[in-house]
């Protein structure tokens, strides 16, 4: 960044953050948002920026297990914390998370831009509420805007994934 004195902790910081289970260290400008840190510095571009003012939900990630907007956090704030992005949801390169499976099976996505934020939000939600009603699902993701699907298929996918996860656990 511009006009930064070397070693000025108020302008640049070294941070260490566990992302999808791996400790990532880096030096960041203090004004860098977490979303940009993930996308630019770590090349984890699955966290999408749809509005950058906290309304659309596309950039939702899990911070210490809780769903939060990555556009409303500074990278420096997650130093020492743990972040999970959409790239960290599937257990392996060949196996999908049950929510990801269900989104595919139930046509829960079209363009796929809002999908990462939907998935991360729902991962936390189903952990808190493993057997939700359709109405509870609707409330849980009312902070995630989808412009393609009209949402119905996302609710169906979520209920199906919840059932599969209950059976599996």
């Amino acid at each position: 960044m511009t006009s930064v004195a070397v070693g000025d902790e108020t302008a640049m910081r070294r941070i260490g953050v566990t992302v999808n289970g791996t400790l990532q260290a880096g030096e960041v400008s203090v004004r860098l948002t977490l979303a940009d840190f993930l996308r630019q510095d770590l090349k984890l571009t699955g966290t999408h920026l749809g509005c950058e003012h906290g309304v659309c939900g596309a950039c939702t990630i899990l911070l210490d297990g809780r769903a939060v907007r990555a556009c409303l956090l500074l990278a420096v704030q997650v130093d020492g914390h743990s972040v999970t992005t959409v790239e960290g949801l599937a257990p392996s390169a060949t196996v999908l998370h049950p929510l990801q499976e269900a989104f595919c099976a139930h046509h829960g996505l079209q363009c796929g831009f809002c999908t990462p934020g939907m998935l991360t939000t729902l991962v936390e939600f189903l952990k808190d509420c493993p057997d939700p009603s359709a109405e509870e699902v609707r409330v849980a993701i009312s902070g995630n805007i989808c412009r393609c699907t009209g949402y119905d298929s996302i609710v169906e996918a979520t209920l199906s994934a919840a059932a599969n996860m209950r059976d599996g656990s």
Partner: protein, 780 residues
């Protein structure tokens, strides 16, 4: 009739196929659910610069000066350009609906002497990263002398430039003796109706990343959508390069809806900068920019008159409308006004029709197409008129429609007007039949009984419906090349594009059905000018019709080639052979594979003895031509409840019924309907670009521009009909992209009227709670 039909090539057998017509899982989803897609912002190149656009904060004014010194001095800034630096680049041309006299209204890539809307690009900054670029953009100081603004397209035209008024053209269409019809009419109904300004607003904003690859002397543009080939040709022309030296690439597109993929100032600016600065240049639109910079749509005011006989039969419609084009005419020319004028009559028998569409410039963001352009607006207008006629003649609104709908026996129905330069010929349909199916599925009669009971209990509830005709499959042509490689993999290269709608899966299904392979083994290439010479892109619900038909022909051609070669190798007759799951089999014994397509492809390689003297490869390219569009149709039914005290409208129940000729993938068609409805709901109740009296935009964040969330969405029922396959293409398909949106404003308006028990109460969209509240007030 289209040439393809005239030559009578094979048509697909009716009914569901093994994969065609089945709700199979999409090919697109794997990378998308893993966050491994490639959207515009995900594209990066080493050494890239970030571009930031400085935009006018004034709606109309004389650009006196731009001071860029401080911005240039900021460390990390590489260049700052104003109009002076790009004066050699002409304004952005039209690709559609060119009307003589529109040229002076084209948008320059950076404003010259005048600014005409808040958000107009006036300078660009190039810097080492997006943060610095934004810092520098904030330092550019614009001195602008404010001029009076034009905000109402229905007001008297003003001066755009000396010698050019803000009304460059009037779109006129007419047939029959309209004046005589009005003189003879039993009744004349007049309405003054308005549709608000809203637009596609996809979740992904625009983006453009350009780089010049000196090693190959090629300029590349990434992050593109919709119309790569036309855009490539125009970028090449405007930059003075041969088209072969410019290539456009499409990754994933986060929703199109009409607004993405048109040629905008920023696309040219990144290309120009990549050449001149000799570094890759990346521009990602932010959301606030998007809401003032990307095409708006919809805003029209209609003064419509209908003449009917004593039975309620339409004799004539005479419509004068004012189309709010915004500050410039962009790539679509006069398309939306033309579509509105051409499609207004919809599904009804109409002996005489006259329309005058006043195409007017205002000091707002330029407007163009948005899903069901010209139809969302005119379905609202026409169906409001039908409801008003029903009230005037004391007829049931369904009976009135029944009397006026074009019947199956009258198909194809020639309407003596054109739109988009082609004659309107309603190709096929059983409108009344679909209305009856829809009423039954919605449970219209039971709903009416229920409404009566609920009203008696004090509820403010009502139901309404609206009929629509869509258009799809705009020609003139599209081509597809299909190749099978030596492992049996199939590659389908199309000149169409994906805007996230699932076209890869749809084309793969068609190819798989015709060829006899697993659709999951088909790799669909789209949106790339380096892989196919021509293409007409993805818009106007055309991909499944045009590229789908080309796919069908190409797949049959490849199949024929494979069977010929296999017959040679097997010493059999090709007509006795078939292809099943990638294996050549005897038609009489389909379970016994004889030779794999992979082996056939190997035998057709350039070094194969079989190929001596012939063009090698198991590959074929076919083109589909169409001179007429095909017209899907349908009906929307809505049930609403109004909170009398607040005026809030909740949609409780909704049905979209749509005949799409043939559903290639019913799951995806249903997704189009429900998703399309959600956008229609936005336009009906929530979304509006508002301006204050100085032309300052008031809907510049997602807290002000209200896209429906899950909480606002009712359960939507869908009826996909396949009763009227199109005779214009070998698959019988009609586009499914826009029917879910088309009639939402009209149907909800009818239902709100019904709930209020005030016919004709709703005259404008969006229907705001405070407007409804005015109507629910007890008469004093």
């Amino acid at each position: 009739m289209s040439k393809a039909v005239a030559d009578a090539p094979p048509r697909l057998a009716p009914g569901k196929g093994r994969v065609l017509g089945q709700p199979v899982a999409r090919l697109e989803d794997g990378p998308l659910v893993r966050g491994r897609g490639l959207f515009a912002a995900d594209v990066n190149f080493p050494r890239q610069l970030a571009m930031r656009v400085v935009r006018s904060q004034i709606a109309h004014g004389r650009l006196v000066s731009l001071d860029t010194a401080e911005a240039r001095a900021l460390p990390g800034v590489v260049a700052v350009w104003t109009a002076a630096e790009v004066s050699d680049i002409p304004p952005i041309p039209f690709r559609a609906t060119k009307v003589r006299g529109l040229e002076p209204y084209c948008q320059p890539i950076l404003a010259r002497e005048r600014v005409r809307y808040v958000g107009e690009p006036i300078a660009v900054v190039f810097a080492e990263d997006a943060y610095i670029a934004e810092d520098a953009a904030d330092l550019v100081v614009a001195e602008i002398d404010e001029l009076p603004v034009v905000l109402d397209a229905a007001a008297e035209p003003a001066e755009f430039l000396p010698g050019n008024s803000t009304e460059p053209t009037i779109v006129r269409k007419e047939y029959g003796d309209v004046d005589a019809a009005f003189r003879a009419a039993h009744a004349v109904i007049e309405l003054d109706l308005s549709v608000g300004r809203h637009s596609g607003v996809p979740m992904e904003t625009r983006g453009a990343i350009a780089r010049y690859v000196a090693a190959h002397d090629v300029l590349e543009l990434h992050g593109t959508a919709k119309k790569q080939h036309w855009n490539r040709d125009e970028i090449a022309r405007l930059l003075g390069r041969p088209p072969t030296g410019v290539h456009l690439f499409e990754g994933h597109v986060g929703g199109g809806f009409g607004v993405r993929g048109e040629l905008y100032p920023e696309d040219l600016l990144v290309c120009l900068a990549a050449m001149r600065l000799d570094r890759p240049v990346k521009w990602i639109e932010d959301r606030r920019e998007h809401l003032v910079a990307t095409n708006h749509s919809r805003q029209q005011r209609h003064l419509i008159r209908g003449a009917v006989d004593a039975d309620g039969r339409l004799l004539a419609i005479d419509d004068v409308f004012f189309h709010d084009q915004g500050a410039y005419v962009r790539t679509h020319g006069a398309r939306v006004a033309d579509l509105a004028a051409g499609m207004l009559p919809g599904p009804y028998r109409l002996p005489a029709y006259r329309v005058a569409g006043h195409f007017r410039l205002t000091n707002k963001t330029p407007a163009a197409t948005y899903r069901a352009p010209g139809r969302f607006e005119t379905t609202f207008v026409r169906e409001r008129l039908m409801d008003a006629i029903a009230v005037r003649l004391d007829l049931d609104p369904i009976e009135l429609r029944r009397r006026n709908l074009v019947t199956e026996a009258e198909m194809p129905h020639v309407r003596p007007v054109d739109t988009l330069g082609v004659d309107v010929v309603l190709d096929s349909g059983d409108y009344i039949g679909l209305m009856d199916q829809a009423l039954a599925q919605f449970g219209w009669d039971a709903v009416q009984r229920d409404l009566t009971a609920r009203r008696a209990a004090g509820d403010c509830v009502g139901a309404g419906l609206a009929f629509f005709v869509e258009k799809s499959g705009l020609g003139p042509s599209d081509g597809v090349r299909i190749s099978i490689d030596a492992t049996g993999g199939v590659e389908l290269v199309s000149g169409a594009a994906s805007v996230g709608q699932g076209m890869e899966t749809a084309l793969a299904q068609i190819c798989a059905e015709a060829l006899g392979v697993d659709y999951r083994r088909i790799r669909v290439v789209r949106g790339r000018t380096d892989r196919i010479e021509f293409g007409n892109g993805a818009h106007a619900s055309r991909v499944t019709v045009m590229s789908g038909s080309a796919t069908y022909h190409a797949a049959l051609a490849v199949r024929g080639m494979a069977l010929d070669t296999a017959a040679q190798l097997l010493q059999a007759r090709p007509e006795d052979l078939a292809i099943e799951d990638g294996q050549v089999v005897r038609a009489a014994a389909p379970g016994v594979p004889l030779i794999a397509l992979a082996e056939v492809a190997r035998q057709m390689g350039p070094n194969s003895p079989l190929m001596r003297g012939r063009t090698p490869g198991l590959t074929a390219e076919r083109w589909f031509y169409s001179e007429h569009m095909t017209y899907p149709y349908g009906v929307h039914l809505a049930l609403v409840r109004i909170d009398r005290a607040t005026g809030e409208v909740r949609v409780e129940k909704y049905l979209v019924a749509n005949d799409v000729g043939r559903a290639v993938n019913p799951m995806m068609v249903e997704g189009q309907m429900v998703g399309g409805f959600a956008q229609g709901l936005g336009g009906a109740l929530f979304e509006e670009f508002r301006y204050d009296e100085r032309g300052q935009p008031l809907s510049t964040t997602f807290a002000d521009y209200l896209i429906p969330t899950l909480s606002e969405m009712p359960a939507v029922d869908v009826l996909i009909a396949e009763d009227a396959p199109s005779p214009l293409n070998p698959l019988g398909v009609k586009g499914a992209g826009e029917g879910g949106t088309n009639a939402v404003g009209a149907a909800i308006a009818a239902a709100v009227d019904d709930a209020l028990r005030r016919p004709g109460a709703i005259v404008s969209l969006p229907i705001l709670p405070r407007t409804v509240r005015r109507h629910t007030e007890e008469p004093t």
